[in-house]
Symmetry: none
Subunit: 250 residues, 2 copies
DNA sequence: TCATAATCGTTCACAAACAATCAAAAACAG
DNA sequence: CTGTTTTTGATTGTTTGTGAACGATTATGA
């Protein structure tokens, strides 16, 4: 077995199981303990994993979970329902802004055949939009690595040339006091601007975002209607006091 | 077994399995270790694979998909040479415009590690650029279905905010009389503008484009230097009379 | 806290893979 | 057919990856 092969094999197992033992790797690859140990040292140097006593683990579990692919399996059903409802609001011939993010992404199939024009800053959205025959415009800008969102002055500049009927945003957290929040200031700027350019703004976010507060404030709750899947009583009251809420149940 | 045959055989196996061992290749082709080793060195120089201790692996998956499509390895090699030469012109820290299109796409691996900033209107380029760690900006605009190029007033508007050190364009034809031509007027407008914003403009086009004339004129030959692989005598004279030509031979 | 066992990093010797060189064989041109 | 070029395979010494050994370090349970 080639060194590189072994490295890939290790990383593959690591992604499946989050942590691996050296004994497992020895058995799986047929290499000796020394070799595995060396491999782990190298992979750690490349920042691909973190060594722990007896094995290794994924370097940054948070980042791992935040990556688009993993996120998209989590709360899939809820997201589908939220997306379906949000897309249902869109009427024939409207001009829509679709934020980057997984929940807004799920809206795309439900938008098919509506003759809408969609502007998005989400690179990952483009393929799906085109495939569903939706006329699509992309904002320009710098590409943010993880989320594949287009941000920066080029993005906001391009955006400000448009006016929208509706604007659908994602958010990492919503909270009665702090409003809608997201980790990245540049993305927040785009969201904020998009909301201001639309007649109606919506935030789509599943219940796991309730009460979460992230680094940058996008809007106060009053700045956009919220579409979510389920809220407990106290949160529901607090949020409903600030903005329009649509709870999408089964 | 002919050298080229062997090369194709190697690339074929490589596409099936991701990585190959030298021993496998020796057995499969019947050639000696030295010969295989030479082959791998050459194929690596053409950027078709990456050598690793004990064998070789595919350099990047995008190029793999491209060469799978329908081009023979031999044709591929010529295009690779054009791309390699074009990218070789780029110096550390420069600002580059990279047009949508397959030949410009092939330049991307050769740009890696140059600390350049690339602006592109090619959606398909983005993934590869990011993968190679290149700072990338995307022009905005409407997405043209087939070529996935960003065009329209949004694209030209975004573009006009930039200035470039070098600009690399594709073209569907070049001709002494009609200049560089391309089928789509909107794409032509983007190309034209990009060229005007760059200190130096280049068109990359293989010999099959020589003498071809398409619907829309992008530039006269004098508007950009031409990088191509081989031209017959008459064409060479005619073209050289109009612009700088670099013929990339082996 | 101490003892024990598992895990760790380091070192060394060996085997595999490597680049470089050279001469023979094949392909080619005149 | 002869001289030249290209391709090939063997040989060389060098580099790199590997596995075993050993003492040092860390976890764990009495």
């Amino acid at each position: 077995m080639l060194t590189t092969e072994r490295h890939e094999w290790i990383m593959g197992l690591l992604k499946q199981r989050q942590t691996v033992k050296i004994a497992e790797l020895m058995e799986g690859t047929g290499a000796s303990e020394s070799t595995i140990r060396r491999d782990l040292t190298e992979l750690e140097a490349m920042n691909l994993l973190e060594r722990i006593h007896g094995g290794a683990t994924i370097r940054d579990r948070n980042i791992q979970e935040l990556s688009v692919s993993d996120k998209s399996v989590k709360n899939e059903q809820e997201k589908q329902r939220i997306a379906a409802h949000a897309a249902g609001l869109v009427e024939e011939g409207e001009f829509i802004f679709l934020d980057a993010g997984t929940t807004t992404f799920r809206m795309i199939p439900f938008l098919a055949g509506k003759e809408t024009v969609v502007v998005t800053n989400g690179l990952t959205h483009v393929d799906a939009l085109i495939d569903h025959g939706i006329t699509t415009y992309l904002t320009g800008g710098c590409i943010k690595g993880k989320t594949r969102a287009l941000v920066g002055p080029q993005a906001t500049g391009a955006l400000s040339e448009y006016r929208f009927d509706r604007c659908f945003l994602g958010a990492n957290g919503f909270d009665p006091e702090y409003g809608y929040t997201t980790p990245d200031p540049e993305e927040a700027a785009v969201k904020k601007l998009a909301a201001s350019l639309a007649r109606r703004a919506y935030v789509v976010a599943d219940h796991s975002k309730a009460g979460k507060v992230s680094f940058t404030k996008v809007l106060p709750l009053a700045g956009a209607a919220l579409i979510t899947d389920s809220l407990d009583g106290a949160m529901m009251d607090a949020v409903e006091n600030e903005t329009t809420v649509k709870v999408v149940t089964e």
